[in-house]
Structure formats: structure tokens, C-alpha cells
């Protein structure tokens, strides 16, 4: 099976979906002439032309709203928001409009819309360019929120998202774009929205993660295997709907759980997962659920402060040792 980058998987999929369905179009800032701020859309303007690959002005509320309205009439826009931080000025269109239109109008109209955007922080981007807001959207009924960790899932979930008739928030990560993985050629697979996956089986502790933190969790699991600690990694892949059965089944098997996410600690994704585990697997737990998340500051620019504010392999290993303390 060919090994390609996460970026290539996204680029290939966008091109294939543009070729497959004439109602699919891409919209976003700098996605055409500039070739994409992170080169996800590289070459697509040349291949498909300006009708299908639409450069927008800096007007997120406006063009996200345009995409929602166009979707209501049958187009299938795939919008790129340069980073998730900029979606805040468009949040009215996503939360008050896209998420509600199908339900609120009694099912008469569909909103087949994808919004792709990288979330999280890397490389000293500072307070306003390093945030994780996927929980804001995962909170909202009517949206679907996915966050693939591997090139394989990126491709399969993006296909599923483009072909889905509901608004899908597709969370990417700058730090994942250059990561590599196996992706089959000539295989029209989709990864279903709403299903988590056990990315690595284990017996001592369950680590629940998504997106870049799944990659961190898999590295940690490999490292701890050398010490004889068997870590099971559950990759959420979808945040809404949330696949609680897969999480709970894993925790019932390992009896211990650590949840890791890049967002802020209070009210973040880890809180939701930990609450679900105590509700549905309380009697199976041999230790309190540990949460690893971002420190609650506007992310400072200074290199050391910035790095120390984000969860990483060390903080995950620390939490795993906490839940394993006393295990015989």
C-alpha cells in the first residue's frame, strides 16, 4: 500500500470529489491562486478552474453564510477556514444557521456543507492562532464533527463528509499535515462518521484521544510497551456523534482510563469523555479517570512557556503512571 502524507490524502480526496460530483466546489481564502495557506488545495485551481475552486475575500461570516445558502439549493461546498481561530467570526452562520436549518424547518431542506480547518497550536503561533475550538461545535446538535489522526482516516472521513447531507466540521492539525501513513489506491473506501476506532489494542490502560493527540498516544503506547505496560489507544475520529460504546467497551476491559486533548482543561473534550466513563463504567474503574489537556492561559509566545502549556508525550506518560499506581 502506498505511503503518503496527511496533506496529500486531503489534496487527493478533494480532487477526486471535485471530479466525481459537479455540485462539489471549494471555497476559502487563498485556496486557489495562492495554492492554499498550507497547500492542501495545491493544483486544484489549475485542474478544475475558478468556478469549482473559489478564492474568497477575508469575510468568513459572509462566505460561510454563502456556502450554507448555496448548500440549501443543492450545491455541496467544501469551505476552508485558514485556521479554526478565524471561524469565530462565522460562528453565527455555523451554529445559528447551518446546524439548525434541517431540523428547525421540519426536514424540508438539507445543508450538505463541509468546513475544513486546522485546530490546535504548534510553533509559537501565539494566543490567537493556537486555539482548539472543536468542542464548541461538538457541543452543538445538528452538526457533525470529525477529527482524523491518520492519512487513511483523513481520506476516508473527508469522502464521508463531502458525501454527507449534513454540515460537517472537519478538524485538521498543522502538525499532522506532514505525517505519513498507508492509504490504499483505487479504493473508494469511506470511514463512517460517528465511529471511534481502537488504533492499538492493550490491556492495562485505555487512552482516549483524537487528531494529533492520537499520534502522541500511539508513540507513548509504543514507548511504554518496552516497559511492559500495555496501552490501548481509542481514537475518537468523530466528536459528534460521539462513539461512547467503543470507549466504554475499552474501559471495561482495561479498568483504567486517561483522556488527552489539546484544548483547555475546563469544559473541554476530556471533561465530556471522563463524565461518560464514570456514568457508564463506574463499577469497572480501578482508579480515577485522568485528564490531560491544555493549561488555561492565552497561549504565550515565548518558546518554553508555549511548549509547557500544551499536553505532550511526557504529560500523557505522567497521567498513565498516575492511573497505574498501585496496580499489581
Amino acid at each position: 500500500m502506498p505511503i503518503i502524507t496527511y496533506r496529500q490524502a486531503l489534496n487527493d480526496t478533494l480532487g477526486e470529489e471535485l471530479a466525481r460530483d459537479p455540485n462539489v466546489l471549494l471555497m476559502g481564502e487563498e485556496i486557489g491562486v495562492f495554492q492554499g495557506s498550507y497547500r492542501i488545495t495545491e493544483g486544484l485551481l489549475q485542474e478544475f478552474g475558478p468556478k469549482r475552486v473559489v478564492d474568497t475575500p477575508i469575510a468568513e461570516e459572509g462566505f460561510v453564510g454563502v456556502a450554507v445558502g448555496a448548500a440549501m439549493l443543492g450545491l455541496r461546498p467544501v469551505v476552508e477556514i485558514m485556521t479554526i481561530n478565524f471561524i469565530l467570526v462565522a460562528i453565527d452562520q455555523v451554529v445559528n444557521h447551518a446546524s439548525k436549518i434541517h431540523y428547525m424547518f421540519g426536514g424540508q431542506v438539507r445543508v450538505p456543507l463541509v468546513i475544513r480547518t486546522p485546530s490546535g497550536g504548534t510553533g509559537q503561533l501565539g494566543a490567537t492562532h493556537s486555539q482548539s475550538f472543536e468542542n464548541w461545535f461538538a457541543y452543538c446538535p445538528g452538526l457533525k464533527v470529525v477529527a482524523p489522526a491518520t492519512p487513511y482516516d483523513a481520506k476516508g472521513l473527508l469522502r464521508a463528509a463531502v458525501r454527507d447531507d449534513d454540515p460537517v466540521i472537519f478538524i485538521e492539525s498543522l502538525a499532522l499535515y506532514d505525517t505519513k501513513g498507508e492509504v490504499p489506491e483505487d479504493d473508494d473506501y469511506v470511514v463512517p462518521i460517528g465511529l471511534a476506532e481502537v488504533k492499538r489494542p492493550g490491556t492495562d490502560v485505555t487512552v482516549v484521544a483524537y487528531s494529533r493527540m492520537t499520534a502522541v498516544a500511539l508513540q507513548v503506547a509504543q514507548r511504554l510497551a518496552n516497559e511492559g505496560i500495555s496501552v490501548e489507544v481509542v481514537d475518537l475520529r468523530s466528536l459528534r456523534p460521539l462513539d461512547r460504546p467503543t470507549i466504554i467497551a475499552s474501559v471495561k476491559k482495561t479498568n483504567r482510563a486517561v483522556v488527552i486533548a489539546e484544548d483547555w482543561y475546563s469544559y473541554g473534550v476530556t471533561a465530556e469523555i471522563a463524565a461518560s466513563i464514570q456514568e457508564q463504567a463506574f463499577d469497572y474503574l480501578d482508579a480515577p479517570v485522568q485528564r490531560v489537556a491544555g493549561l488555561e492561559v492565552p497561549l504565550p509566545y515565548a518558546k518554553e512557556l508555549s511548549a509547557a502549556s500544551k499536553p505532550n508525550a511526557n504529560s500523557l506518560i505522567y497521567a498513565i503512571r498516575q492511573v497505574l499506581a498501585g496496580k499489581t
Partner: protein, 355 residues
């Protein structure tokens, strides 16, 4: 003055009598529907917020008279009259206000969120400005797919102060979208007058820096509204040229049914209602020119009163939405790990104290 009257007479003579009667009937339907809606609200048959189109009948009927079945309409939350004038029967509209399963949005939307796909009535929206980019997007889709028609983005005067409006103007012009920005200018956004909220109180000028043509129109004159929309609609459809219509009318009552309207001088309101009642003025005009007689007006009023009463009866007799359908239409494409009828029923039993 004589000249004006002559012009009005000449204009009327060019009209089909049946059209004029139809406009009057529609305006009266809107008037009576809203008066009865207000009554039903006070009787607590209707909940939530409820905004009436009283005083805006000519604006609405004139707009709809100029549109074709290909066209699409997006409105704000003061939209009962728009969906009626677009041809949706009063029964399902009243049923929606009553929160019934037979309502135009199956009781999920309410007064502010009416919808009819069949009639291209693409929804009432209740976040000020939110519907404006949606309408531009619909127009974008028409252009993309090479379909005929235009899209109307209806809004109030207060909406012209929010960012979404300006982003929409820019995108509509930039991408040559066939959209009409239809501003129902009744002088007030809730209690804030146009002069208090807009540094440019001539709202039709607000497209100038986007190179969008704008016009002010007398929103109490059904024919003036219709003719302006027809003209600008044709240009939008043929050339992809958006336009702003600043349609001035008089709001008869407070912002919503429960607004006591304390910020407007009662004398101003009384005089405004006396001078600018589009329904009464149109009836007088039709009488004056012998297009209709008193007997026709009386018969029409009786017919419409009956029609509105039947709508109320229909709404009353309609079933409430079933709790097991709570999660129906949550998603258009089903996905795993979502709640279903059983979950809804269990939650309902607990909520009612039955479990």
C-alpha cells in the same frame, strides 16, 4: 395635485381589474391574519416571540406580485405575511404558530421560522442579518447551476447596521449574484430609530461603496413596490446585478405583540396609522375609481374572515408533534451513535414525572 391624481388614474387604467382585486384581497388577508394572530397570542394559543406585519401589507403583496415561481425568498422573523402572500395556505401557517405537526415546519420552527420548500420560501430567520448571506448563497447557486430566477433577501432597517449585511453586499457584487436586498424600513429596529442607528439614514445609499444600485420606494403603495421589484428583478436575473430596495412603511404597533411601544409618541403613531394604512388607502382608491364597490369590499372581508377562522380551526384541531419524533430530522444522513425514538420517550417519561 391634480397632476398626481391624473397620473394615478392613468396608472390604474393600465392595470387588470382582477390583479387589483387580488392585491387588495391578499393585503386584507395579511391584515386579518395578523389581527387574529395577535388575538390568539393574547389567548396563549401562540407562544414565544411573535412579530406582526401590520402596516406592511402593501410592501409584502407588492413584492410577491413581482416574483416568479423560480425565485427564492429568505426573510427575517417578521414573516407571516410573506409566506401567505407567496401562496402558502393560512391553515398550515397558523398551525405552525400553534406549534402543531401540521404546521409548515411541523411545529419545530414557530412564528420566526416559517418555511415552505415547495413555494421557494426558504425560511424566516431570527438572528438579525443571518439570512442575508444565506440569500446571497442561494443566488450564487442559481448562477452556478445556470438556473433562472433571483433571490430576495428581506430584512428590517436595523439589519443594515450589522457586519453580515456589508459582507453580503460585497460578495453579491463581486460574484454577480442575482439577489435583491429588500429592506423593510419601518423606521424602527425595536425601539431604535433609523436616525439613532445609522450614520447614513438614507438606507438605499448603503450600497454605494459596493457599486450596488439602490432606490427608495413607498412601501405603502402596492403598485410602486411591485413595479420597482419587477424592474430590478429583471436586471438582477439578466445581468447578475444585485440591488438595494429601501421600502419605507409605517409600523402600526410595537416591535412584537408584547411590546407596549412606549418609545414612540402616541400622537405620532395615531397620525401614522391614519395616513399610511395601506389596506384602507387601497380600498379607497379602488372605490374612487369604481374598480370595486362597497358590496364587493364587504363580501371580500367576509370571505377572508371565514378563511382566517378556518385556519384557526384547522390549527386548533391539528395534533401536537409526537415526543417519539423529537430526534426525527436531526440529521439528513443517518449516522451511528445518535439518539432515537426510544431515548426520546424515556426522557419524556422522566420529564413528566412518570418514571
Amino acid at each position: 395635485m391634480a397632476k398626481v391624481e391624473d397620473a394615478a388614474r392613468a396608472a390604474l387604467e393600465r392595470e387588470h381589474v382582477d390583479d387589483l382585486k387580488h392585491y387588495y384581497s391578499q393585503m386584507l388577508l395579511l391584515r386579518r391574519f395578523e389581527e387574529r394572530t395577535s388575538e390568539m397570542y393574547v389567548k396563549a394559543r401562540i407562544g414565544g416571540y411573535c412579530h406582526l406585519n401590520l402596516g406592511e401589507e402593501a410592501t409584502i403583496v407588492g413584492l410577491m406580485a413581482a416574483l416568479t415561481p423560480d425565485d427564492y425568498i429568505f426573510t427575517n422573523y417578521r414573516e407571516h405575511g410573506y409566506i401567505l402572500a407567496r401562496g402558502v395556505p393560512p391553515g398550515p401557517v397558523m398551525a405552525e404558530l400553534f406549534g402543531k405537526e401540521t404546521g409548515v415546519a411541523r411545529g419545530r420552527g414557530g412564528s420566526m421560522h416559517l418555511f415552505s420548500r415547495e413555494h421557494h420560501f426558504m425560511g424566516g430567520y431570527a438572528i438579525v442579518g443571518g439570512q442575508v448571506p444565506l440569500a446571497v448563497g442561494a443566488a450564487y447557486a442559481l448562477r452556478y447551476q445556470g438556473r433562472p430566477g433571483v433571490v430576495v433577501a428581506q430584512m428590517g432597517d436595523g439589519t443594515t447596521n450589522i457586519g453580515a449585511f456589508y459582507e453580503s453586499l460585497n460578495l453579491a457584487k463581486l460574484w454577480q449574484c442575482p439577489v435583491l436586498f429588500f429592506i423593510v424600513n419601518n423606521g424602527y429596529g425595536m425601539g431604535t430609530s433609523v436616525a439613532m442607528g445609522s450614520s447614513e439614514p438614507d438606507l438605499w445609499k448603503k450600497g454605494a461603496s459596493f457599486r450596488i444600485h439602490g432606490e427608495q420606494i413607498d412601501g405603502t403603495d402596492v403598485l410602486a413596490v411591485r413595479d420597482a421589484v419587477r424592474r430590478l428583478r429583471a436586471r438582477a436575473e439578466a445581468e447578475g446585478e444585485p440591488a438595494i430596495l429601501d421600502v419605507v412603511s409605517f409600523r402600526f404597533r410595537g416591535h412584537s405583540v408584547i411590546d407596549a411601544d412606549r418609545y414612540r409618541d402616541p400622537e405620532f403613531v395615531r397620525a401614522g396609522r391614519a395616513a399610511h394604512d395601506p389596506v384602507r388607502n387601497f380600498a379607497a382608491l379602488l372605490l374612487e375609481h369604481a374598480i370595486v364597490d362597497e358590496a364587493w369590499l364587504k363580501a371580500t372581508a367576509e370571505r377572508i374572515d371565514r378563511e382566517v377562522q378556518e385556519a384557526i380551526d384547522f390549527a386548533n384541531a391539528s395534533p401536537d408533534p409526537s415526543f417519539e419524533d423529537l430526534y426525527a430530522n436531526m440529521y439528513a444522513t443517518p449516522v451511528p451513535n445518535t439518539p432515537g425514538p426510544e431515548d426520546a420517550l424515556r426522557a419524556a417519561r422522566i420529564n413528566r414525572g412518570e418514571s
